[in-house]
Amino acid sequence: MPDSQAVIDRKDLGAMFALLAEEGYQPVAPRVHDGAVLYAPVSGPDDLPKGIGDEEEGGHYRLTERGDAKLFGHTKPVQGLKAHLYPARQKLWSAERAGHGFRIVKDQDPAPRYAFIGVRACELSAMLIQDKVFEGGPYADKGYAERRRNCFLVVVTCDHAGAACFCASQQTGPDVSEGYDLKLAEIIDGGRHVFLAEAGSEKGRALLDRLPRQAASEADLKAASDQRQAAAAGQKRAMISGVAELLAAQLESRHWEDVAKRCMSCGNCTMVCPTCFCSTMEDATDLSGLKAERTRKWDSCFSIDYSYIHGGSVRNSGASRYRQWMTHKLSHWVKQFGVSGCVGCGRCIIWCPVGIDITAEAKAILKGA
């Protein structure tokens, strides 16, 4: 659809935020907070991290000055969009004592309408995976489904790779081909600062039609294509091929014990992974015992309670917990949902306090096989 492509000038980008807000969306986009780029509510392009880049490594993250005016010159924000679509803590329902029984009181909060702006390829892939988790099968999560259905997605393609990125080897990026409403590539060429925009849905096309825009030139298309190639070529890390089969055959690898010496079972990897979806239910009462409520909270397979069944926990060693996480993510996830659970964003590497690198661990297991 050639008419779905256009160029939006930087000075007209505010119109996109305004139109989305007018349609009842809360724009959520990358912004700088506490020395990091996070997804947070924004009111317009002035809230975006202008000229900010990021430096990442195992257990290391710092913001950098890029020396230009790019608004999306960073890589992925600290936490994925699961914090918005699948909140860390959700009240599911409450109950009141009634006679000898109790009465359920349902939560009636309307689902928010988010416009996510600046979504990366890995993020979008993660969202499509969580769609399978929460909406596939007979027991769909209504809350997730509603938040997801309500959202508007503005994808921004990456112009470079972060040091922890490995989406190319997971085939989840850096190019984006489906699942978005609008796709932007940010292009700065001398004094010209524009966004090559492409609609990916009817909603996206309708929005693009209302924005001040010019026709895209061959040079713009080439610039966007060059950026995507640079983002793929610049990836220093890669997941080994055939990792699903490898791990399934290496459940007794001696390497699990080696990882366990370094792994603290702190659960950070699972918290920042954009596809990790495990949760626990918490039932609480008020002091009088007349009211109760059920809350769903993010949980981690690194906790002892996670694998608790009557009589004790199943996974008591650090080795068994790390193996559970890595083999589920990279191997039996494929059997369960038809895709790998890893989108190659590298967040688990960056936010591991001791910098454990899932790509390096996979290589070490291969070496010891």
């Binding site: 659960g267 918290m271 936010w351």
Partner: protein, 259 residues
């Protein structure tokens, strides 16, 4: 609705600063709900009323540091159905357990004009080393929401929702940017039990370990990171593990490696 007899609550203190029992008074509005639900039979910070046992539930603050305390805790245990220890002192020995790493008589000579008046034990030890404890609530001080949760669970005969995983989980759920990864600040969060809600990292400080070791603490891996990437010296690493929960086994063993 059936009315139930109000359980009798006692709050006792051993060697400690009183901060944890004051958390109960800090409950403010919820305190009225507590007094509706229990009869406060003994709680010197709140009332001069000194009712004798037996109690249904007793909260114990502080560690055992004198022969008198070692005897008193046995009497209290006999007088109550449930005994809940609150705070770092009661659950690990507290800051005063620093004496466990040295000769206590050295302190006596420095601190007291007449050390011969002082009767003390060589060590400061948690309550659970002396009597059976039904539940240990961590923290220096404890978190009032967790205290209410434990009382609430006891009153309603359910399991308290008190996680034993790492503080990191609370930071991430709260949306705090990791101070160790993004700022290079040494943080005990990965080896410390959750419970405070992620207070220090949310104010740009590393976790001090107030809630003691988490369920599966790999302190060695964290100490290696402090010594390596964060370029700390051994003394700094030792002091990190040797504070309010210095006598908790995992922290004690790690600190001894950095002499």
């Amino acid at each position: 609705m059936t009315t139930r007899a109000k359980p009798r609550l006692g709050v006792f203190k051993f060697s400690s600063c009183d901060g944890c029992q004051l958390s109960l008074l800090d409950c403010e509005l919820e305190l009225l709900a507590v007094t509706d639900a229990v009869e406060i039979a003994y709680f010197l910070e709140a009332t001069r009323k000194d009712m004798k046992g037996p109690f249904d539930v007793v909260l114990v603050e502080g560690s055992i540091t004198t022969p008198h305390e070692a005897e008193l805790i046995r009497q209290i245990r006999k007088s109550t159905k449930a005994l809940i220890t609150i705070g770092a002192c009661a659950t690990s020995g507290g800051i005063q357990a620093l004496r466990n790493f040295t000769d206590v008589n050295g302190f006596l000579d420095i601190v007291y004009a007449r050390p011969d008046y002082i009767e003390t034990l060589e060590t400061a030890t948690p309550i659970a080393e002396h009597v059976a404890v039904d539940f240990e609530l961590r923290g220096c001080p404890i978190n009032k929401h967790q205290l209410l949760e434990v009382l609430n669970a006891f009153l309603n005969k359910r399991k308290p929702n008190i996680p034993h995983y790492a503080e990191c989980i609370e930071c991430k759920q709260r949306g705090t940017v990791c101070v160790m990864v993004a700022k290079g600040i040494a943080c005990l969060g990965p080896v410390t039990q959750a419970g405070c809600g992620g207070l220090c990292p949310a104010t740009h400080r590393g976790c001090f370990g107030c809630f003691g070791p988490m369920e599966t603490p790999n302190t060695g891996a964290l100490a290696d990171r402090f010594l390596g990437e964060l370029k700390q010296d051994k003394g700094t690493v030792q002091r990190a593990f040797r504070s309010f929960n210095a006598n908790a086994p995992a922290f004690r063993e790690e600190s001894l490696k950095h002499d």
